[in-house]
Amino acid sequence: MIKVQTIKGMNDILPADLLKMEYVESLLFKSAAKYGFSRVQTPILESAEIYKSTAEFPEEKCYSLSDSKGRKMVLRSDPDAPLVRLVANNWVNHPKPIKLSFCGSIFRSWNIHRREFKMFSLSTFGLDGFVADVEIIRIIADVMEEIGFSGHRIEFNNLNLFRDIICAADREPRQDEDIKRILHDIRFAADEEAIAAILRSSGLSENIIAMILDLFHSRSDEPRIYEILDKASKMFPALTPEIGKTLSFKASLASYGLQNCHLNVSNLHGTGFYSGLTYRIFSKNGSKEIGDGGRYDQMMERIQGRPMPATGIGLGIERFVELIEAEGLTISLPSRAKNMIIAFAGSELADRCRPILRKLRSAGYIIEEDLASRDLDKVMRYAKTKQANRVIMIKSAEPEALQLKIIDLDEDKSDSSLVNDPEELYDVLLKC
C-alpha cells in the first residue's frame, strides 16, 4: 500500500493557510513595487554549477539529480545565485540599478521541519553603496508596519571588519577564501574556546585573538564594540574606512526612518557568500528573525567573470506568517466579495435561476451553487467550512414565485422573502 504521508519536511498547504501566505506575499510585492522593484521568476532546477559560487550551499547538501545526459542538476536552495545567473544572462549592460523581487519554493535538505518553503527576496544589482541595503530593509519594515507590528529591531554586522583585522594583523597577504573559511568555522564554533582554537590554528597572534574574542564577547553591546574598534583602528589604520562605513550605514538607516538598529558583531550568518554588510530583521521584541540579508558583491564575478555589486534580503513566507501570529497579530485578509452558497429545492428551479447566478458573478459576487441535493442543516455546515457570508435556500411558490430563506452567517440571523421572478431574485440577492 502506498504511504499517504508527504515526504519528511514537505508540507501540504490547506486553503486557510494558503490565503494568508498569498496575502502576505502580495503585501511584500506591492511594497517592493512602490520602490521600483520588478518581479521575476527562475526555474526550480538549476545546473549544479550555479551553487559552486557560494560555500553556503555545497552540492552534497542540495537536493541533486542527473538528467538523461548525466548532467548534474540541483533544486533551488537559495534565490541569490539563480538571480545572479538571470542578471548575467540578460542584463549585464542594462541601466543600473537592477531591482528584482522574487518569490518561489526553496529546498533545503538540512532543515529539520521545513525542507521546502516559500522564500520572498529582494535584490539590487549594480550599486556598491549601502543605500540599496537600506532601501530593501525599509521595504520589509514597511510591510511589518502595514501588518501591525509595533516596531522592528535590526541587527547588522560588517564582515569586512573581521577580514580587515585578520588581514592587517598578517605579515603575509592572506587569500580571501582562507578568511571566509575562518569566519565560517567561527560561526559554527561551540564556544569562545573553540573560536580561540580556530584563530590560533590560523596563525593569528594572541593580541589579535584577544581582540576578536573581545568583539564576540561584546555581542550587541554597541558602546563596547565601538571602543574596541576605535582601539583597533589606532593599531591598524587600514580598519578605519570599514568602521566609518559601518557607522554611516547606521546613520543611513536612521535617515530612512529605521530606528532600533544595532551593530552585532557576533552575527556571522551567511559567511559562505556574503562579502560585507549583513543584517537581520526582527520584530521589536522578537528573538526569531523575520528575514536576513547582506551584500554579495563577488558572486557575479565568480559566475560571469565580470564584477557587479549586489545585495539582497530574503524571508521565508511560512515563517513570517507564523511570526505574525506569534506576535498576536491577525492577518486581516482583504475583504473578498460577498460569498453566497445557493441551494435549490429541485433541478428545474435551479435551471430557471442559473442565469441569475452568472449575472451575480459578473457583478463580482462569489456564488457557489450547492450541487449536492441536501437539507438546510447540511448546506449550513458546508457553508461554514467555506466561510460563506450567506446561505440562500430557494423553493418554488405558487404560481411562478420563488420562496427564499436567507441565512446571514455573519450576523447569525435569518430572513424569508418571496420574489415573483428571477429578475427580482437578482435584486434581492444583490442587497442581501
Binding site: 508527504t6 520602490y35 527562475t42 548575467a88 544572462n89 531591482k99 540599496a132 473578498r336
Partner: protein, 443 residues
C-alpha cells in the same frame, strides 16, 4: 570564468513576461474564486511510489532521485496525482463536495519544443465528491467564464467516454486495440480524418472498422444534429444510453446560459488520451487560431480518487497550462502586455538632496504610487534615458533651484511635456498625470 547557462527546457521570467503571466493567473484565479473554489498547495516533491504506475509510457519523463535519507523522491508530474494523496491525508478535514484550485509548477523531462517546457505552470480546478451532471456543467461554465474574462473568443468542445466506449463496442475491439483507436482519434485536430483513417489502416484495423470510424468522425453540425447522428450510428451499443443522456443533459443545462464569447459544441473527435477519464471530456480552443490546439482541457475522473476504505470519490476538473495559454493568447494578439509597474522615477541632481528625494518618494508611496529613486548623481540626460528604457511614465526633477522656489518639475515621458508644480501640490499633480483622478489626493 565559468558559464552558467539556463538548463534546457527551463525558462527565467523577466519582469515583462512575469507581469503577463501574473495577470493571467490573477484573472483565472478570480474566476475560480467566483465559483466557490478555494486554493490549496502541495509540495513539489512527492514519494516516487505515489507517481509510478499512473502515467503509462510517460513515466520515464518523471524527474526522480534519492534524497539525503535514501528515499526515492520525484518532482510532481502534474497536479492531479498528488491530489490523490492529499485527499487521503485530509479526508477527515474536508467537507464534500470539495471545490479546490491549485496554481503550481510541474516538471516533465520531455523533449523541449516551441511552447513546451520541462517546467511549466498549471492552474487546476476540481470538484471532488460530486457525481452530478451539474458539477460537470459548473466546470464547463467555469471554463467559459475564464475565457470570457480573458476576452478571447473560444469554443469548448466536449464529448464523453461512454460515447467512445460505444464506438469501441460497435467495432468489437478488445481493450488493447481500443487504446490504439483512441490515440488515433485524439490526433484528429492535427492530422484530420484522412490521417486518422490512414493511421488505423497502418496499424492493421479492418476496412469495416475503418468505415465505421470514418462514419463516426463525419458526424458534425449543431449539437442537436450531432446527438441525432450519434444515435443513428451507435444507438444499439450498451453504453450508449448513458452517454447520450449525459450529453443531452449537459447541452440542456448549458442552453439556459448565454456566453457572448464562448460556444459549446459536442464534438465526437474529442478523445483525451489519459486513461483516467470516466465521463465528460472537453477541450478548449481559440476561434481565431484553432490550429494552436487546446489551451485548456479536463473531464470527469470518478475512479482515480479513493476514500481510505477503498470507495471511489467522483471528481470532475479542468486544467489550464498557463505558459501555453499565454503563448496562445500571443498568437491571437490578446496577450496582456505590461512593461513596468513603476510609475515615477525621481532623478538625482545632487546626492546632497537625497533626504528631499526620500521625502518626495515617501509621500508618493504613501499615496500608493510606485516610485524609483535614481540613487547616483549623474547627467540628467542619462537618467532620462534610463527612465525611458524602463518605460517609466513620469520623471520628477528636483534640483537646488526647484527647492529654493518650492517647486517640482514633472516630465511626462509619454507625451514629452514638462510641467512645473508647487511643492504642496506635488502628490495630487502626479496622481492626475498618472490618471489616478479618482484618488482622494488627486487635484
Amino acid at each position: 570564468m565559468s558559464t552558467h547557462n539556463l538548463l534546457s527546457g527551463f525558462q527565467d521570467f523577466l519582469p515583462e513576461s512575469m507581469l503577463a503571466r501574473n495577470n493571467l493567473v490573477s484573472v483565472v484565479r478570480g474566476c475560480y474564486e467566483k465559483f466557490g473554489f478555494l486554493p490549496q498547495d502541495t509540495p513539489c516533491l512527492e514519494r516516487t511510489e505515489l507517481l509510478t504506475g499512473k502515467y503509462g509510457d510517460n513515466e520515464k519523463m518523471i524527474y526522480s532521485f534519492e534524497d539525503h535519507g535514501g528515499r526515492r523522491v520525484s518532482l510532481r508530474y502534474d497536479l492531479t496525482v498528488p491530489l490523490t494523496r492529499f485527499i487521503n491525508m485530509y479526508i477527515n478535514n474536508i467537507v464534500f463536495p470539495y471545490r479546490r484550485y491549485q496554481v503550481g509548477l510541474s516538471w516533465r523531462a520531455d523533449k523541449p519544443g516551441k511552447g513546451r517546457f520541462r517546467e511549466f505552470m498549471q492552474m487546476d480546478a476540481d470538484i471532488i465528491g460530486d457525481e452530478s451532471v451539474l458539477a460537470d456543467v459548473e466546470v464547463l461554465t467555469l471554463m467559459a467564464s475564464a475565457m470570457e474574462a480573458l476576452g478571447v473568443r473560444s469554443t469548448i468542445r466536449f464529448n464523453c467516454r461512454q460515447i467512445l466506449d460505444s464506438l469501441v463496442e460497435m467495432c468489437q475491439l478488445d481493450s488493447e486495440t481500443s487504446v490504439s483507436l483512441m490515440r488515433s482519434i485524439d490526433k484528429f485536430d492535427k492530422i484530420g480524418q484522412a490521417g486518422v483513417l490512414a493511421e488505423l489502416a497502418g496499424i492493421g484495423f479492418s476496412p469495416g472498422i475503418i468505415d465505421k470510424v470514418g462514419d463516426y468522425l463525419k458526424i458534425t453540425g449543431t449539437n442537436a444534429e450531432v446527438l441525432q447522428g450519434l444515435t443513428r450510428l451507435l444507438g444499439e451499443a450498451g453504453a450508449f444510453q448513458t452517454g447520450i443522456a449525459l450529453l443531452s443533459s449537459i447541452t440542456d443545462l448549458l442552453a439556459v446560459q448565454s456566453h457572448s464569447l464562448v460556444d459549446f459544441e459536442i464534438d465526437p473527435t474529442i478523445a483525451r488520451g489519459l486513461d483516467y477519464y470516466t465521463g465528460l471530456i472537453f477541450e478548449t480552443r481559440f476561434v481565431e487560431n484553432p490550429e494552436f490546439g487546446s489551451v485548456c482541457s479536463g473531464g470527469r475522473y470518478d475512479r482515480l480518487l479513493k476514500r481510505p476504505n477503498g470507495e471511489f470519490l467522483p471528481a470532475v476538473g479542468l486544467s489550464i497550462g498557463i505558459d501555453r495559454l499565454l503563448a496562445a493568447m500571443k498568437s491571437v494578439g490578446k496577450a496582456p502586455v505590461f512593461k513596468t509597474t513603476t510609475q515615477v522615477f525621481i532623478a538625482n541632481f545632487d546626492e546632497k538632496l537625497s533626504s528631499e528625494y526620500l521625502k518626495l518618494a515617501g509621500e508618493l508611496r504613501q499615496a500608493g504610487v510606485a516610485v524609483e529613486i535614481f540613487s547616483k548623481q549623474s547627467k540628467i540626460a542619462k537618467q532620462l534615458d534610463i527612465a525611458n528604457k524602463k518605460y517609466i511614465p513620469l520623471v520628477v526633477l528636483v534640483g537646488p533651484d526647484e527647492i529654493s522656489l518650492s517647486q517640482v518639475l514633472l516630465k511626462d515621458m509619454r507625451a514629452g511635456v514638462q510641467i512645473t508644480v508647487q511643492r504642496d501640490q506635488f502628490v495630487p499633480a502626479v496622481l492626475e498625470r498618472l490618471g489616478l483622478n479618482n484618488h482622494p489626493l488627486a487635484v
